[in-house]
Amino acid sequence: MAGSTLEIKDLHVSIDDKEILKGVNLTVKGGEFHAVMGPNGTGKSTLASAIMGHPKYEVTSGSILLDGEDVLEMEVDERAQAGLFLAMQYPSEISGVTNSDFLRSSINARREEGDEISLMKFIKEMDASMDYLEMDKNMAQRYLNEGFSGGEKKRNEILQLMMLKPAIGILDEIDSGLDIDALKVVSKGINKLRSETFGCLMITHYQRLLDYITPDYVHVMMQGRVVKSGGPELAQRLEAEGYDWIKKELGIEEETVEQNA
């Protein structure tokens, strides 16, 4: 089975009437790993949130298509059911809902009524994935993200990614706040998903994530647009030389969206 295709065309997004994305074009196909890099404040996380349908972000023009279907017409849960997944930078804490109840509800949400995952199978899968991510087993019974450390939250996002097996995974700064050991474990989980049926969009402003997860394509965002695309060598050059050479090349003085709004 071939993978899915996520197409983002001339996407404009505002928050509180302030335009953050000013025409993003990007296509992610099954089997491909894309990295979106760029300094802070250039719209990278806005792109991730807009694809998933965050209530605060308003798409003012452009389109997002998943296998030709209009994602912008879908509710957030429909986007997930269609195959999108966003590992969030700041996952919500939900008191009183255990991690495992939440995960089971999420898995069953994409299955037909009467075809729910059996409790045994679920526990087996969850145990295996938690082992793989070197997570403490009691995290299954803890309330969703409540009191989790930064690192635990990130692992928990990847646990969900591994168990929900989306067609397209978007990782919003999954590396932020992780020490090197945690980063290795999280990367191991993401690399395990590599296949023809899984496409991945990684948002980061550190090259170091890409030392563990090699991207096929690298894109640089500035001023709310993708200003440069290339292969893994682009990330290496950014690591070595920073972003100034791109700014010079493109005649950009200030890379953030703020100054140009």
């Binding site: 209530p55 997930a80 008191s95 009183g96 999420s106």
Partner: protein, 435 residues
């Protein structure tokens, strides 16, 4: 217009009611004394709620229900509260204020544990009941309703755990109002002697939608030195019943009283849950959750008073409000002079599901001592759209996401209920009320 709260019950009626039950003289005279007080005492005045027009006078008082010979005879909607597979051997079922069924493990009986209906307890353990009935915790002259309760008390349960006895299995009471008009003047006493420990869980159930009835309930929990009482309740009176429920705890030295109250009535309800931390190092946790719906009015007070040194009180109230329901949550932490090193914490949170609902969180700290710690958190708000977004981003529908958030919000009490069948029932009741 005020509704006439004067009662159709006279001295003569109360005397005869007491005589018919073969009550000892002390009980009869206490009833008559209380009846007299109803003439002069004022109604309770819950903060911010006017209950003067509520029905406290329309109900049937002298009622009875049939005994059952086996739990199998119970209707399905009562059976669900019982663990029918691993039958709980420690159980009292009251039907229209009469005992329908009771049992207590032989091993507990041998240790001197008492779990029986109050009417039998008054016969069989008269001195013990007299020692605690409306004495240390609630008094007959607090207000007109406590006096009325005493005069008309027509049911309840007596739990007694002797010194050093640890009761492992929970004790359970089911108060089933089968007749729609039955007035429940239920009185529950739980006494835990020194170094003892007990868990007690009760359910109130009625089905009266249109017929009016009254529940005027007093519960007294006494935890002697180093005793521990865990008290769980699911109140599920139907719309027609007006409820006044007064649950009071007294904790002596090193004692602990934990309340987990699922306040799921559908009618107007005034509830006060007050614990006095008398002894040094005594502890109480008072947790209560409610779901308000329809045009129900509720006033829910949780109060812990620290008298003892180093005593520790924690109040948690969570309420979900929908339709045009209106609730006031009074959380009161009071530290008396001399109770140094004490702690009074509270948290009141209200989740609003409709624009016509009302919820007031009313946190109060009254502190008469310097060397103490205290804190409160209160909030009234809607379901957080970012939490909804997070759950929905995993494919969960909006409706299911809201359901998860609401159940999570009420989990602090649901998770504390020690009998699985009762916990499941509370979850179902919540489900039924929020959807």
């Amino acid at each position: 217009m005020t509704v006439d709260t004067k009662l159709p019950y006279e001295k003569d009626y109360v005397s005869k009611f007491s005589e018919k039950r073969n009550e000892p003289e002390w009980m009869k005279s206490l009833r008559l004394q209380a009846l007299e007080l109803t003439e002069t005492l004022p109604m309770p005045k819950p903060d911010k709620t006017n209950i003067t027009k509520w029905n406290f006078s329309k109900f049937d008082h002298d009622v009875s229900g049939q005994e059952i010979s086996s739990l199998e005879e119970l209707p399905e909607d009562i059976k669900v509260f019982l663990d029918m597979e691993n039958k709980n051997g420690n159980l009292v079922i009251q039907r229209n204020e009469s005992v329908a069924y009771k049992s207590l493990d032989a091993s507990l009986q041998e240790k001197g544990v008492i779990l029986t209906d109050l009417q039998s307890a008054i016969q069989e353990h008269s001195e013990l009941v007299q020692r605690y009935f409306m004495k240390d915790a609630v008094s007959i002259d607090e207000n007109r309703l406590t006096a009325l309760h005493t005069a008309l008390m027509n049911g309840g349960v007596f739990v007694y755990v002797p010194k050093n006895v640890v009761v492992e299995e929970p004790l359970q009471a089911i108060f089933w109002q089968e007749d729609p008009k039955v007035g429940s003047f239920n009185h529950v006493i739980v006494v835990a002697e020194e170094n003892s420990s007990v868990t007690y869980v009760e359910n109130y159930i009625s089905h009266n939608q249109d017929e009016e009835a009254v529940a005027n309930i007093v519960t007294e929990v006494i935890a002697h030195d180093n005793a521990s009482v865990s008290f769980g309740a699911v109140d599920n009176f139907a719309k027609g019943t007006t409820v006044y429920v007064n649950r009071r705890g007294i904790a002596y030295r090193d004692a602990k009283i934990e309340w987990a109250l699922g306040q799921m009535n559908d009618g107007n309800t005034a509830s006060e849950n007050i614990t006095h931390l008398i002894g040094d190092n005594s502890v109480s946790q008072a947790k209560a959750v409610t779901v308000g719906r329809g045009n129900q009015i509720q006033n829910l007070t949780a109060k812990i008073v620290n008298f003892g040194l180093n005593s520790d009180g924690y109040i948690l109230q969570h309420g979900v409000m929908k339709d045009s329901a209106s609730s006031v949550f009074n959380g009161i932490g009071k530290i008396e002079h001399g109770a140094s090193k004490s702690n009074a914490e509270q948290e009141s949170r209200v989740l609003m599901l409709s624009k016509d609902a009302r919820g007031d969180a009313n946190p109060i700290l009254l502190i008469d001592e310097d060397d103490v710690t205290a804190g409160h958190a209160a909030s009234v708000g809607r379901v957080d759209p970012i939490q909804l977004y997070y759950l929905m981003s995993r494919g969960i529908s909006k409706q299911e996401a809201e359901r998860l958030i609401i159940h999570g919000f009420l989990a602090p009490v649901v998770n504390e209920i020690p009998i699985q069948s009762v916990k499941d029932q509370l979850t179902k009741v919540i489900e039924g009320k929020v959807n």
